[in-house]
C-alpha cells in the first residue's frame, strides 16, 4: 500500500482538517483550566491547617509508577497513530488497547493513592492544601477516566467500520487528547510531587 505522507487519512477532507484545528483550540482552553488549578495550588500548598503537608503524604514509588505508565501509554498511542497511517488496522487497535490498559493501570494507582491519603487524614476537607491537591489530581484523573471510555468507543468503532477518513480523524483527535493528559501529568509530577518532596 502506497502511503501519501503529505496527506494522511485523517486530514483527507477539509472538515477533518478543521476538526483537528478545533480540537487544538479546545486544548488551549484545557491549558488554562490546569493553569488556574496550578496557580491556586502554589498559593495554598503551605496552608495545611494542622493537617499533613505534602512532604508527609507524598510517596515516590506510586508516583514514579504512575509517571512511567502514562509516559509509556503516550508512546504506544503515538505508535497506534503511526500504524493507522500505514493502514495497519490490527496493529493500530493493539496499540490503542495497550494504551488504554496502561491508562487503567495509572488510574488504579491513583485511586490507591487517594484511598491512602484519606486514611492518613488528608481528605478533601482537611485543609486548603488537601482541597486543592485532591481537586488538581482529581481533575486530571477525571480526564483520564473520560479518556478510557472515549478510547474504548473509538476502538469499537474502528473495529466495526474500519479505517475511514471519519474514524481515522476521530482516532487522531483522541491521540491528541491522550498526549495532552501526559503533558499535564508531567507538570503535576514535577511541580506538585517532586517539588513537594524536594
Amino acid at each position: 500500500m502506497k502511503i501519501d505522507n503529505s496527506l494522511p487519512l485523517e486530514y483527507s477532507t477539509e472538515e477533518n482538517r478543521l476538526k483537528v484545528l478545533g480540537f487544538w483550540i479546545f486544548l488551549g482552553a484545557e491549558i488554562m483550566l490546569f493553569a488556574t488549578l496550578f496557580a491556586t495550588y502554589f498559593t495554598l500548598f503551605d496552608r495545611t491547617a494542622g493537617g499533613p503537608t505534602g512532604a508527609e503524604i507524598f510517596e515516590i514509588t506510586p508516583v514514579l509508577i504512575e509517571t512511567i505508565l502514562l509516559l509509556t501509554s503516550s508512546f504506544t498511542i503515538g505508535l497506534g497513530i503511526h500504524a493507522m497511517r500505514l493502514g495497519n488496522k490490527k496493529a493500530m487497535l493493539s496499540f490503542f488497547a495497550i494504551t488504554l490498559l496502561l491508562g487503567a493501570g495509572f488510574l488504579g494507582f491513583e485511586i490507591f493513592e487517594f484511598v491512602t491519603y484519606v486514611h492518613e487524614g488528608a481528605g478533601l476537607q482537611t485543609s486548603a492544601f488537601t482541597s486543592i491537591l485532591l481537586t488538581t489530581l482529581g481533575t486530571h484523573g477525571a480526564h483520564v477516566t473520560l479518556g478510557l471510555f472515549w478510547g474504548l468507543f473509538i476502538i469499537l468503532q474502528v473495529k466495526k467500520r474500519g479505517l475511514t477518513p471519519e474514524t481515522a480523524n476521530k482516532s487522531f483527535i483522541f491521540s491528541l487528547y491522550w498526549h495532552f493528559l501526559d503533558v499535564v501529568w508531567i507538570f503535576i509530577f514535577s511541580f506538585i510531587y517532586l517539588k513537594g518532596m524536594m
Partner: protein, 93 residues
C-alpha cells in the same frame, strides 16, 4: 514489525524517560531549592515540547501556524495566570 516502530518516536520515548530520570535527581540528590526548581522547569518544559512536536505532530498540517499560535497563546496565558497569582498572593509584591 520494524516499520511499526519509527526511530523518531522511539527516540522521543527514550528522551522522555531520560528527562524523567533527570527530574528525579531533585529527589535523590541534595540540592538547593533554586537549583532543584531550575532542573524541574527545564525538564518539564522540554518534555512538554517533545510531546507536542514528536507525538502530537503539531507542525504537519497546513494549519501549523494557527496551531502553534494557539499553543503559544495558551502557554502565555497559563504563565501569566500562574506567575501573576504568585506575585500577588505569595511573593507579596
Amino acid at each position: 514489525m520494524k516499520e511499526l516502530f519509527p526511530p523518531k518516536q522511539v527516540m522521543g520515548f527514550v528522551l522522555s524517560l531520560t528527562l524523567t530520570v533527570v527530574a528525579l535527581s531533585v529527589y535523590f540528590l541534595n540540592m538547593s531549592f533554586a537549583v532543584g526548581m531550575t532542573v524541574l522547569l527545564v525538564t518539564a518544559f522540554v518534555q512538554a515540547g517533545l510531546q507536542l512536536v514528536v507525538f502530537m505532530h503539531a507542525g504537519e498540517s497546513e494549519d501549523k501556524a494557527a496551531i502553534y499560535t494557539n499553543v503559544y497563546y495558551g502557554l502565555a496565558l497559563a504563565l501569566i495566570t500562574v506567575f501573576g497569582t504568585l506575585l500577588a498572593m505569595v511573593w507579596d509584591m
